[in-house]
């Protein structure tokens, strides 16, 4: 009887441990995807020379699934988000996502020999909204501060804000969004973003890759 109790207890605890192991800590999560992106970029000559398709593939497979664009867009749009129809929200999210992808994909093409260093996490293990702090160490100049804000999403985490050199992405776009919306409404903003994205995809990101 007692042995059975122990067996059940052990199984239960194993199950509990299993669930805990499946949940990565947020900084481990970021470390892992950053390493994957860095390694892919450093080892692929096509990426380093600015091959747009390849870069977009990397972004699509390794980065996009881990970012919560809807939340990012909602935060950047601020109070205007609630005034938008679901269709507008969807289109705005897509255009903003594309803008970020085209723009920052160029940054991936510039990865050469930078290293990432992670700072100790200051969050409680039970937090569902955390900040991971890291920095990019490069040959020339001081380390670049790079922080992420993540929110728990099911069993994993999703990034919803990025801080580079002390400026949060969402905060920085809020101003741009607000003025576009006050000029032409949400549709005006969507239109501006769409035009910008068309121009970016036509130019290709190759021009940003040359350094």
């Amino acid at each position: 009887m007692f042995k059975k109790f122990i067996a059940v207890l052990t199984l239960g605890m194993l199950g509990f441990t299993g669930a805990a192991v499946a949940q990565e800590a947020p900084d481990v999560f970021i470390k892992r995807i950053s390493q994957e992106v860095l390694e892919t970029a450093k080892s692929d000559k096509d990426i380093q020379s600015g091959n747009q398709q390849k870069i977009l593939d990397v972004v699509q497979s390794k980065i996009l699934p881990n970012v919560d664009f809807k939340r990012m867009t909602a935060l950047a749009a601020g109070r205007y988000w609630r005034e938008a129809t679901p269709d507008q929200q969807k289109r705005l999210t897509e255009e903003f996502r594309d803008l970020l992808v085209y723009t920052y994909a160029g940054a991936i093409a510039q990865i050469r020999d930078q290293q990432l260093e992670f700072k100790p996490m200051r969050n409680d293990p039970s937090d569902t909204d955390v900040e991971v702090r890291s920095q990019v160490v490069q040959q020339r100049g001081e380390p670049i501060q790079l922080n992420y804000r993540l929110a728990k999403s099911g069993n994993t985490w999703k990034i919803y804000d990025l801080n580079v050199l002390g400026a949060w992405l969402v905060e920085t776009y809020k101003g741009n969004f607000a003025s576009e919306i006050s000029k032409g409404g949400i549709d005006g903003l969507i239109k501006t973003l769409a035009e910008r994205n068309k121009k970016l995809s036509a130019n290709g990101i190759a021009k940003n890759a040359k350094s």
Binding site: L99, L100, Y102, T103, Y104, G106, A107, I108, Q110, I111, Q114, K119, P120, M121, R122, R133, Q135, V136, Q138, R140, G141, E142, P143, I144, Q145, L146, L162, V164, L165, G166, A167, W168, L169, E171, T172, Y173, K174, G175, N176, F177, S179, E180, S182, K183, T192, L193, R196, L200, K207, N208, S211
Partner: protein
């Protein structure tokens, strides 16, 4: 320190305002005056001016420099002027009460100036003394002086009222200011500016794509960075080694929260030394360069304001 801050701020504002008589909410568009940017019209004009100078003079020079000058020489230029800047950075770190960082910067300067051949080689960074970046505006901020509104300075780029008022101190604290044949001094300054611009060429290209309105984007990113720098300077407290941990009471029990313990009790040159001091433009991940100078040279960097 508000008693010191207010007259200083008032003096600065008077100085700036006297130079721009037409500033004000005379714009006819419906968008309200931005409370953080009351000088917006003046600033936009100055921003456009700086942009033109950058487009026609500085950027081409920087592109040529980057292509033609051998990279070890570029590094030498960067290190040389960076080394001179470490002097004033050290002073400001000490003024802000960050003794560990200040001492580290003094050591950086000493080592680089001697073993690093007058600063051409940056040995100190490899030796574990990271490069910091402090200017007098940041020191004033840490002392409690409010930043005041955003200001775009001719050629120097993004700044705030407080930081503009602090510029004379930054000039005085830069050893290069005292180099005596004028032509040598001007040439050196030009070289430094071009080198810095070359360092942020990629970041500036990214911003052109990323921003819907470059002026706003740069302004908002700059103000955030500045505020972040000053608050993290303050937060790290008077001396990184003696900073009180937020969970001081739980020191004994929270052994699994080892990260916060390590963060506080680590050696001065470890984690605390680099937090909040990151100030370089070449951003591989995203372009939030702080958009100063003709376009993208770091304004917070005290020794580059020339």
């Amino acid at each position: 320190m508000n008693t010191l801050g207010r007259p200083l701020l008032a003096l600065s504002m008077v100085t700036i305002l006297s130079g721009c008589a037409t500033t004000g909410a005379t714009g006819s568009d419906a968008s309200a005056r931005n409370p953080v940017d009351p000088f917006e019209r003046f600033n936009r004009t100055m921003f456009t001016f700086n942009d033109k100078v950058d487009q026609y003079a500085l950027k081409p020079a920087a592109i040529a420099y980057k292509r033609v000058v051998p990279s070890f020489m570029q590094t030498g230029v960067y290190n040389f002027f960076g080394n001179l800047g470490d002097v004033w950075t050290a002073v400001n770190n000490l003024l802000q009460g960050r003794v560990a960082d200040g001492v580290s910067d003094v050591m950086r300067f000493t080592i680089n100036s001697t073993f690093g051949l007058a600063g051409l080689i940056d040995i100190s960074s490899d030796a574990g003394l990271p490069k910091h970046n402090q200017d007098f505006g940041a020191t004033l901020g840490v002392w409690g002086v409010q930043s005041g509104p955003y200001v775009v300075l001719p050629l120097l780029g993004s700044s705030t009222v407080r930081d503009s008022a602090a510029l004379p101190a930054d000039f005085a604290g830069n050893p290069w200011t005292y180099v005596s044949p004028d032509t040598t001094r001007y040439l050196g300054t030009a070289l430094r500016v071009i080198d810095l611009r070359a360092g942020v060429l990629d970041a500036s290209n990214l911003i052109e794509d990323a921003a819907l309105d470059r002026y706003e984007f740069i302004r908002d990113a700059y103000l955030q960075r500045r505020a972040n720098k000053i608050s993290s300077n303050r937060e790290r407290g008077a001396d990184s080694v003696y900073r009180a941990l937020p969970d001081d009471e739980d020191l004994d029990s929270k052994t699994d929260n080892g990260s916060s313990l390590n963060g506080g009790s680590a050696a001065p040159s470890a984690e605390p030394a680099t937090r909040g001091d990151a100030q370089q433009e070449k951003a591989p991940a995203a372009p939030a360069a702080n958009g100063s100078q003709p376009a993208f040279i770091p304004a917070p960097d005290g020794d580059t304001r020339k």
